[in-house]
Amino acid sequence: MTALPGFRSGSAASRSVLTRLRRNWPAYLFLLPTLLLVGYFAYYPAYIAVTRAFTDWDGLNTPNFTGLDNFRRAVTDPVMGEATKNMGIWVVLGTLLALVMPLIVAELVFHLRGRRRQYAYRTLFVIPIVIPSLVLLLVWGDFYRSDGLLNQLLGAVGLGGLRHEWLGDPHTALYALIFLGFPYIDAFNFLLLYAGLQAIPEDVFDAAKIDGATGLRRVLRVDLPLLRPQLGLIAMLAIIGNVQYYISPLVLTSGGPGYATTVPALLMFQTARRDGDFGYAMAIAFLLMLLVVVLTLLSRLISRGNR
């Protein structure tokens, strides 16, 4: 049983900790590279971020402790208020988009007849993943231009009156960014829901059929309740992801016009990069992290309560 030091075996628990420490040195050697890397490139910057939130750090000089000044500033900053409102809209609409279209497609593909047909369509909806996310962003930026595809299409179907500088108008810019990426079929979410449908036992569908639940009624009564774990996971990931997201306003609008597309995460980035105010930026990041943690805990509680 003891041919190799450090191998997991039943008798291990009976040995003293010191002997086990000495015998199991290879384990620590195996873990060392990961722990060093994770410590230096993940935990240490996180520690810096959290501690610097309470200082006037400029990224270069020694930071001075300023207590809650940065947080007071964040709470009273009207720009931060507008950014938070934008984020709220983004989170609600973004989460809906992440759920609805992948669900519809997963349902349609799953109820096709024949494995091979399902396989072919499933592949079709994963193929778009080859489009680099930034290319998608930039192409949609072009669609939204005054001479872009969207306005040309509107003109072609006689709705020329709706032509618009989509990203330049403060009333439409935020929504243009949120609704970027039609038809919103995220490959990951789609696969998750499809796998969830596959995991439902065949007899459940048979029983539903006997009870007369077919078509939309079956989807509402049978599929949706049974897909709750997957839907919950997608919703949680979408909410947390959208709270953090700021690449499209950074690349396409720089948060403008005015502050129409500014979200807190973008404000954090610009406060640090453009204004050099790293301390305040970290306070915003700290508040966002608190929000993410609270949302994560909340969703855990809700999903546990449902069980």
Partner: protein, 279 residues
């Protein structure tokens, strides 16, 4: 099953799916057809297939994009390989070895999934700027390897734990050490899982924009950063860029993933649907 008839409902379902699938692929079509047009053709019609092709757009785009494309390949391949190697070692320790602090160290690695990117971005930028490797591939490879560890370890640990113990015991009796066990038995058996993890990690590393835009100099610039620069400040600017060349650069940016997924698509689908990702 075996029922493969074409009922009315089935036809409608397939029609909807084909329409949605084509719409999802539309950006690919749009960039491809427009990458072959000159300025006049582009201004006339955005949707048609050009009658006269302008492949010289690709020469123009290639000149701009070839450096960043190579950089992106170097960074992505190295990062994903390093992620797999380090995660395999750690997952082996967590799955098959018994040592004090096992649960604590695993929790510590796993808790990393809860550290959000935006929190660490700026400190990382300052940290890397102060290191001696600011304008180096490593400036982006090391952080992405760190970020990839929890997911990779989680999935690989589950795969390694599922390997039949008899097989490992037999090799042990033949005198194989841990590294030999890992290399000769554990890794070969887990090859499909390794490929799944690789391809799932590869997509975000290939698409990574923020950190590279901060820490890489012009010579080491990756593709997403180069595309944004090539675009010239986004859609809000007044200057009309050469759209044909721009679109050609977008197509070139998609080619590596296209080639990769042509061969490894099923590993991605298996990886996401197998439950390893559900957490």
């Amino acid at each position: 099953m075996g029922r493969t008839g074409f009922t009315a409902g089935e036809v409608v379902r397939q029609a909807i799916l084909i329409a949605l699938g084509l719409l999802a692929l539309f950006p690919l079509y749009f960039t491809t057809v427009n990458s072959f047009k000159d300025r006049v053709q582009y201004a006339e019609n955005l949707l048609n297939v050009p009658t006269r092709l302008h492949p010289e757009n690709y020469a123009l785009a290639w000149a701009q994009v070839q450096g960043p494309l190579v950089n992106s390949v170097v960074v992505t391949v190295t990062s994903v390989l390093a992620t797999l190697i380090l995660a395999s070692l750690s997952a082996y320790a967590f799955a098959l070895m018994d040592f004090p602090g096992r649960h604590l160290l695993f929790a510590l690695t796993f808790a990393l999934l809860l550290v959000p990117d935006f929190l660490t971005l700026i400190p990382l930028y300052v940290q890397i700027r102060n290191l001696t490797l600011p304008s180096n591939y490593l400036a982006i490879i090391l952080p992405t390897v760190a970020v990839g560890q929890p997911f990779a370890i989680l999935v690989l640990r589950a795969a390694f734990e599922a390997i039949p113990r008899d097989m490992l015991e037999a090799a042990r009796l033949d005198g194989a050490g841990h590294l030999q066990l890992l290399r000769r038995i554990v890794l070969p058996i887990s090859l499909p899982v390794l490929i799944s993890v690789a391809i799932i990690r590869l997509v975000p590393v290939w698409n990574e924009y923020l950190l590279p835009s901060l820490v890489l100099d012009e010579a080491h610039r990756t593709l997403p950063v180069a595309l944004v620069n090539f675009q010239g400040g986004g859609a809000a600017t007044a200057v009309t860029p050469n759209y044909g060349a721009l679109m050609a650069s977008y197509v070139l940016a998609a080619v590596p993933l296209l080639v990769l997924f042509a061969f490894l698509m099923r590993y991605y689908i298996q990886g996401v649907t197998s439950g390893g990702v559900k957490g």
